[in-house]
């Protein structure tokens, strides 16, 4: 899977690149709009991540260009929060999804996976981790090939862990992923603990191993 990041802040671009490369993507960067436009016209990307606010123009131009030239790339736009006009406009122009700054890398990764799953139906809607298997089409979870029943939030949480395995997921990131800003974060931290406890129990009851590690009270890591 090849991705292009169009983002003018080099630190941010590098950081995201490293994270996504770690997650198994091939990632290229463009620091300006013109560079981005040049790249999409020359190379083929599965997905393009575009920041709307670029120094030399509006990132939406890339969305327009991709849709106009019928380039087969999915698009994820990055907007400032509350800039609903940008979001709406971007989605109207043909972006697949949007994410608002500041975002968590894990969230970005989850969004990318979700777009790619939606856009391609060649069997990559199955996620595997040893004895745990998730079918995102049927929204089902299996441990040792036996289905287990998860609540909606437990399922979302496990999926978030599965696409971000070996990464530390902070509580903030998990809270935002599960509840958006419907909840005070202080409240939601207790609930995360609760959900993780239940999720662990369900997986282990089905004979699975406990892959969820607590990290210094700041977050969790899903790893072998």
């Amino acid at each position: 899977m090849k991705l292009l990041i169009v983002e003018d802040n080099r630190h941010l671009a590098d950081d995201i690149t490293r994270f996504l490369v770690d997650s198994g993507f091939v990632v290229e960067q463009a620091l300006t709009l013109s560079e981005g436009l040049k790249k999409i016209n020359v190379y083929q990307y599965d997905l393009v991540i575009v920041d709307i606010g670029l120094p030399d123009g509006n990132g939406l131009d890339i969305v327009k260009e991709i849709r106009k030239k019928k380039i087969a790339s999915a698009i994820l736009i990055v907007t400032a929060k509350n800039a609903i006009e940008d979001k709406v406009h971007g989605l109207e122009l043909g972006a697949d999804d949007y994410i608002t700054k500041p975002f968590h890398k894990a969230e970005l990764n989850a969004r990318i996976r979700s777009i790619l799953r939606r856009n391609k139906f060649d069997g990559n809607n199955i996620l595997n981790m040893n004895e745990i298997k998730m079918d995102t089409m049927a929204a089902q979870t299996f441990v040792h090939n036996k289905p287990i029943i998860l609540t909606r939030k437990e399922y979302d949480l496990l999926l978030y862990f599965m696409v971000n395995r070996n990464k530390v997921l902070t509580k903030e990131s998990i809270a935002e992923h599960l509840w958006g800003d419907h909840v005070d974060q202080a409240d939601s931290f207790d609930f995360i603990y609760n959900h993780i406890k239940n999720l662990r129990k369900k997986i282990m009851n089905a004979g699975g191993k406990d892959y969820i590690k607590s990290m210094y009270g700041m977050g969790y890591k899903f790893s072998e």
């Binding site: 941010l12 609540t151 509840w179 909840v183 207790d190 609930f191 009270g217």
Partner: protein, 433 residues
């Protein structure tokens, strides 16, 4: 401040004009009648004297006139009563046989001596014609005044249409003008120098406001956007540290503080930016929204959390509760109020949400606020200084209510915190014209 009843300028000038005209007419009427009175007196005296002289002349020659006009009475006296007021005038009504009506006469009585005889002479002269003249003055002035008054009123009301047209146009521009709309204001053509001046000042003022507004907007937008990228970088770097076990073993609490505070700034920036945008009325895609579905959608998304907190939610929603509001803003209001209720609710009883045609009422159980009920909607007010909340949620809600003609109020009753949003009855934006 004492309320002064307002009157249209034109009505005011018309009224003053009418009062002055009335005074002018009244004074000239007084003057003219005085003049007429004097004229009548002079003329009558002249006629009396004429008749008197004629009688005296006759007495000199004939001793006693045998033929006398009807209006003259002459009698001989034995002596002259010197105490009598002489000459004596009196106004009387005398029957006129020809015209068959009573007519007003003035009678002059004098006593005099002629050739050793004393006489008393009374001469009556008709006043009718003179008084008719006096009445005619009034008769002419009153219709003249009425015609003039009507002309003034008519003229002014016609003028208000044409003369004040540019003024009213400028007023309506002022009323409908929205800062930052970038539509500009059309020049109103007028030859009235006062209106020209007003328009010029209005335009200058707009330019200044627009400039300030653009600067402020640019500033907040830049702040909000530009600050987010560095914050994302800091957060990402911090997350890298969190993932590094060697660092965390030594500096867990430091890293945690950096991470938490970075998140706090980021959220603060976003919310303040949102507040500014709302204040600038950038969310104006007003729609008629039946709130029921919206509320149910939000209740759905918090239902799980409510369950985890063992909180019951009782709803009683009406399809009659319809608001004219931007859907994005309505979402913020409901989201914030529900989040607030969920955060502070105790398990003494359910969170209750109820709508009627006029009101939205949300209540949750909890101890009364210890301080500053009146400061509840202020920015950065936190009960007991809780640092877990931003202290902006309720001020955001208040701001949105204010801008959408909704009144939000808070009360604590029966151990419940109750927020009520009512549609404002009073018209906050009365018609200027």
């Amino acid at each position: 401040m004492k309320k002064i009843q307002s009157i249209k300028l034109l009505s005011k000038t018309t009224l003053f004009y009418l009062i002055f005209t009335f005074l002018a007419f009244f004074l000239s009427a007084v003057f003219l009648t005085n003049e007429a009175e004097e004229f009548i007196n002079d003329e009558l005296e002249h006629r009396f004297n004429h008749t008197e002289r004629k009688i005296r002349r006759q007495l000199k020659t004939d001793r006693y006139p045998d033929r006398m006009p009807e209006t003259v009475e002459l009698s001989e006296l034995a002596n002259i009563d010197s105490s009598a007021q002489i000459p004596l005038y009196s106004d009387t009504l005398i029957f006129n046989a020809d015209l068959e009506e009573m007519q007003l006469y003035r009678k002059k009585t004098i006593e005099f001596e002629e050739k050793g005889h004393f006489y008393k002479l009374s001469v009556s002269k008709s006043l009718e014609d003179f008084y008719r003249l006096k009445d005619d003055i009034f008769g002419a002035l009153i219709p003249a005044f009425i015609i003039l008054a009507l002309a003034i009123i008519l003229f002014n009301s016609l003028l208000s249409g044409t003369l004040f047209k540019p003024f009213n146009k400028i007023l309506s521009q002022m009323r409908t003008y929205k800062v930052g709309s970038e539509t500009g204001v059309k020049q109103v053509t007028t030859s009235t120098s006062e209106f020209k001046k007003m328009q010029q000042l209005f335009h200058e003022m707009l330019d200044r406001i627009e400039k300030d507004y653009r600067n402020l907007k640019e500033y907040t937008e830049n702040m909000a956007h530009e600050i987010q990228t560095p914050l994302t970088v800091i957060r990402n770097k911090t997350e890298n540290l969190i993932a590094d076990e060697a660092v965390m073993e030594k500096h867990a609490s430091t890293v945690k503080t950096i991470y938490d505070e970075t998140n706090h700034i980021s959220k603060l920036g976003n919310t303040l930016n949102l507040l500014t945008k709302i204040e600038n009325q950038e969310f104006s895609q007003t729609e008629r929204i039946t709130t029921r579905q919206v509320i149910e959608k939000h209740l759905e998304s918090i239902s799980e959390l409510a369950r985890l907190k063992s909180l019951k939610i009782e709803k009683q929603l009406s399809d009659q509760h319809v608001l004219n509001i931007d859907p994005f803003l309505l979402d913020i209001v409901i989201k914030n109020l529900l989040r607030n209720a969920l955060h502070y609710a105790s398990q003494d009883g359910p969170i209750k949400i109820k709508t009627t045609a006029e009101r939205f009422i949300l209540s949750n159980y909890g101890q009364p606020l210890e301080q500053g009920v009146d400061r509840l909607f202020e920015r950065f007010f936190r009960e007991n200084g809780t640092q877990t909340s931003q202290g902006l949620g309720l001020s955001l809600v208040k701001k949105i209510c204010d801008l959408n003609r909704l009144t939000i109020s808070y009360a604590h009753k029966d151990n419940q915190h109750i927020f009520t949003i009512a549609k404002s009855d009073e018209d906050l934006n009365p018609d200027i014209s």
